[in-house]
Amino acid sequence: MISPAENALAVRKEALEAFLAAAAGADAVDLDDVVPLTGGAIQENWRLDVRVHGGPQPGQRQLVLRTDASSGVAVSRSRVEEFALLQAARDAGVKVPEPLWLCEDSAVLGKSFYIMACAEGTATPHRLMKEPGLGGDRERLAADLGRELAKIHSIAPPRRDLAFLGEPAAQPALAAVARYRDYLDSLGALSLALEWGLRWCERHVPSGTAAVLVHQDFRTGNYMVDSQGLTAVLDWEFCDWGDRLSDIGWFCAKCWRYGHPELEAGGIGSRRAFYSGYEEIWGQAIDPEAVAYWEVMAHLRWAVIALQQGERTLSGDQASLELALTGRIHPPRLEREILSCTAPAFWRAV
């Protein structure tokens, strides 16, 4: 059965082909196949199999079209902003799918979208967990991921091309605590375990580092690997200015280790290897205590996001068993970890 989104692309096939031809500087482009890609709760990703006639790069190509799904989340960047972020990352030497063309003309698809090159490999976490050969040597992969993250963090404000990010928060950790409390209040969620964790985070903010571009969803599942190693870092929709250690904490947090708690770097390698790759580019030593703080914050953030996802289906925005279960199953597990990391012994005296 054809989905509504597939149908929307099918009825606009000619307009899309015309856009691709003009953008590629080609005489014509034939769209042979359109395949939905996974990983699009908030965005839709489509693989386009095209034949390019004339122009500088004639022949068959595989491209990826990325646009908004029917139900987005408020904190997600627009496709226009995401395209700019992808270009900035590529300029900084980060492995990303090459950003090709942006389309803001709603006459083509009815909404903004952009086209990027198709990266090789897979991003599926359960495949990474089940296939030890995938991604090449895992310690090398962990170090490579550390290097890539450090390259992302080499992008610092002010940047005219990233002006839409606004001014960096003076205290990113305290801003996050306030934001998560607001989210919980707006959801009508009453979770004392999360409140306990947020208060602990409010009381124990470590010394901050200078604001840099933070990816905010740098974790296993959001990068692609082939049999050799890392091929691309994906999903730039939550980027902002912030504390670099928040990304390191997110990547290493227990909730993103996919059943391999002993592999502290995203469930795929050692923390030592990940840190060594990162420090090689940054030129400074990572403060492990500060990262531990951001790992608590990571669990809080994921719990709030899970509740928001649950609410998306409860409020009737999007009927989805997956979203309903996300809001129901994840928070108690995250609460347990938060409570364990913030036991009374870990509270500093005033």
Binding site: L190, A193, W196, I329
Partner: protein, 116 residues
């Protein structure tokens, strides 16, 4: 004897077993993942039906664990007590409170147990 009519929780339990043993082995890929989601939902719904209205249900457990904090709370409904404690936590009146931490851990363990 049970009168011959299965209740909702029993039906959910049987439906879950049917999917787990008869349907799941025939599936792969995305269809298998989707069937697992259905299994998870049935497990949760069954546990909730079994505990509905009983003192060891979710709301009853929360009230029981937090009952020692009732003196400062408005009313005896779990939400009333929880709102009061939420406000106290935000104001810093419960910083490092070992008794509250124990209660929150017990509530969370109960929530996890209900997940199966």
């Amino acid at each position: 004897m049970n009168g011959g009519e299965a209740d909702g929780a029993h039906l959910l339990s049987l439906a879950r077993r049917e999917i787990e043993e008869q349907v799941l082995p025939l599936l792969s890929g995305d269809a298998r993942y989707r069937a697992r989601l259905v299994l998870n939902a049935l497990t949760l719904a069954e546990a909730e039906l079994r505990h509905d209205g009983r003192p060891d249900g979710e709301a009853g457990r929360r009230l029981s664990e937090l009952s020692t904090f009732e003196a400062k709370a408005e009313g005896s409904e779990p939400k009333g007590i929880e709102r009061q404690i939420q406000s106290e936590i935000r104001q810093g009146l419960r910083d490092g409170d070992a008794a509250l931490h124990d209660a929150l851990l017990a509530i969370t363990k109960g929530r996890l147990k209900a997940l199966g």
